[in-house]
């Protein structure tokens, strides 16, 4: 009974954060050996772990060292091993209560035991407090989080403005946050702008990963907000509406530098343009549209520049945080092409052992992990 079973194995070097492994199937059994932890035998190491689909998502049965070279058995009950199928968008994780959001740039969010990793994308809700207070301006916007600690993270938005009131939530029914499970299924996508620096070139910050590459042709959408002074969000000349000088010709720009996951420099000369203004009063939030930057085309380069050791046509990639790139499972592509980033497989989480909070399933940074994944022909539920 093995003709249709699926088996796969591989290796990765742990970063200490949850590790995603893409496969052509969703496994029902996963096991791994942490070679580094096994070799060292150091206290708190997790030399091997097992997971079966019947155990449920996000758990694992592990061996761990309770003292040097002294093994015991244990379980990981949350953030263990789980499977995923990233093939339909608009999926969200569990709703969590927001303890607070500071007036700062970037804003700092407090959520007790949030469980997020840097690069995760979240949306907020119920930040409205009254007709003049709260932060409903950022409700519904996808934000990439940068984790500060287990209970706080930052988001790329300036809330240190007069129209924003610090959120002191914490109550059920109040402000909430939830994770966007698969934010980059198709790329490059539409991005909400969080800041603009004007000049002979224009630097644009986005609220989540833009996934642009150098040479990407982009357009800016700058919606109007009636009755806000100075002009919100920004100068209407950014818009790619047909140029009044050349009717019928939209105005586009090219990405000339990618600073990091949420910052690009575009060759639009915005010298003298009205400064970007996200200080939108709460009263204007109902029906508020957001400034966006979208991909509208690619450069005519025919591929990436060839440098020593580089592949001519690497697979397309996303850049979820910092300058870390994550390849898709698809084959070679011309950079900047619209690509499908759907995938499936399993995740080895960074959860802690039930009996020892310092024993982390995915190990420490630089640990070498060998994994095997199975999908069985014959599986008999109990």
């Amino acid at each position: 009974m093995t003709e249709y079973s699926r088996m796969a194995k591989g290796r990765f070097v742990s970063t200490g954060a949850a590790q995603i492994v893409n496969l052509p199937f969703v496994p029902d059994y996963v096991e791994f050996i942490n070679y580094t932890a096994s070799a060292s035998g150091a206290d708190n190491g997790v030399p091997n772990a097992h997971w079966d689909a019947l155990m449920g998502q996000g758990v694992a049965v592990i061996d761990r060292f309770q003292a040097a070279n002294q093994l015991t058995t244990d379980t990981v009950d949350t953030l263990g091993i789980s499977t995923f199928t990233a093939g339909q968008m608009l999926q969200y994780g569990a709703t969590q209560v927001v303890g607070g959001i500071t007036k700062a740039n970037p804003a700092i969010v407090t959520v007790t035991g949030h469980g997020y990793a840097s690069g995760d994308v979240v949306i907020f809700q119920n930040l409205y407090e009254s007709a003049t207070t709260g932060m409903p301006q950022i409700d519904g916007i996808p934000f990439t989080v940068t984790v500060i600690d287990a209970n706080s993270f930052s988001i790329p938005w300036n809330t240190n403005q007069t129209a924003y009131t610090a959120i002191t939530g914490g109550a059920t029914g109040g402000p909430t946050v939830k994770k966007v499970l698969y934010p980059y299924l198709y790329a490059p996508g539409v991005n909400i702008i969080s800041a603009i620096t004007t000049g002979s070139t224009t630097t644009i910050d986005t609220t989540s990963a833009h996934n642009f590459v150098v040479g990407q042709e982009v357009a800016i959408r700058m919606p109007q907000v009636q009755g806000v002074s100075p002009t919100a969000w920004g100068d209407s000349r950014y818009n790619s509406l047909p140029n009044s000088l050349t009717p019928g010709s939209p105005q586009y720009g090219y990405v000339i530098a990618v600073t990091d996951y949420n910052t690009v420099v575009v060759n639009i000369n915005s010298t003298g343009y009205t400064a970007y203004n996200s200080n939108i009063p709460v009263a204007n939030v109902s029906g508020l549209s957001y400034p966006q930057i979208v991909a509208v085309g690619d450069v005519n380069t025919g591929g990436v520049q060839i440098s020593s050791g580089s592949a001519l046509y690497p697979p397309p990639f996303t850049r979820p945080i910092g300058n870390t790139t994550v390849n898709t499972i698809n084959g070679p592509a011309i950079q900047g092409a619209y690509f499908n980033n759907t995938s499936q497989g399993f995740i080895i989480g960074a959860g802690a052992a039930e009996g020892d909070a310092s024993a982390i399933l995915v190990g420490a940074a630089e640990d070498v992990i060998y994994w095997r994944a199975y999908l069985h022909d014959l599986s008999i539920p109990q």
């Binding site: 003709e3 969200y92 809700q125 119920n126 299924l185 009717p247 109902s286 029906g287 592509a333 900047g336």
Partner: protein, 323 residues
Amino acid sequence: MSGITNTGNLGPMILQSLAPAMLYVPTPTMNYITVCDKVSMPANGGTTCRFMRPRALTPPTIQLGNSGIDPPAQVPQRDIIDAQMAFFGTGCIINEQVILQDQEGVLAWVSERLAVAMRQAEDLILRDYIVSAASQINAGGGSNGDNPTNLGITDFSLVAATLDTNNAYKFMSGIEGMDRFGTGPVRSSYFMLSSTELQADFDGLQGSGFLSQWNYPTNASALPSEYGNVFNIRILTSSEAPVARGASDLGSDVYYNTVLGKQAITHINQDGYSMNLIYRDPYYSGMLAQNATLAVKFAQAQAITQDTAIRNLLSTRSSSLGV
């Protein structure tokens, strides 16, 4: 009363008979593929389909004068849009005993379901791509105080005006009014791909601008999923239209109403590889097992080819949902 033979004392030898007609499978209407441009990449054409769109040249509105000197030449420019091909597929493994013993034509109806699943996949891929990549306008014309609001009549005007200002091409020409009670003329229109869950909201706009398909002077040009018209927009509804559940400011569902003109989205297949049904008859699968396989496979890429001709009009809902 003895002596009466009934099914209590003389029951049928065989208690079951398969009804001749298969029951229908509830299937959403697939609107996204309907409104796409279709392009086929040639065989051996690589992984990426490239589109080219020339840019307009500056109209020469300045008189030449009598100097005899030509004005400087213009350099033609073009925009390049690339889309990377991806392959998709699924299948079923059917043991020979099923084919041998089951009364119905298993291979026939499984083939049909695979084909429908594949067509749905095409549509869902397009749907999710449009949600990911098309720019957005939040509805603000409604009255529910959320962000986005429910759809107000001004939202239809705003989004159509945006596309008109971008010189987008409308899909449908208008329908002239006729002397038929209860009908009204229909303007030339863009399409809006919307959710069946919003139909009650559209009905609520009757009298303010919404015209049901059944109030068109003639619905000869109406599509099967067409619900009606508001100003320059004809609305196609489907149960698979994208909804971000509980994602609004106030925790309501957010609907992605895609408004688009011609050539806004292009669907690309590779050399007719739009659908391959792959059948292998019962075959050695072990010492005794003989299994047939039925599978479908297709190649697809998609691109926003006229970004100026598409907007997602995000909205919440004013009416309650049925269940």
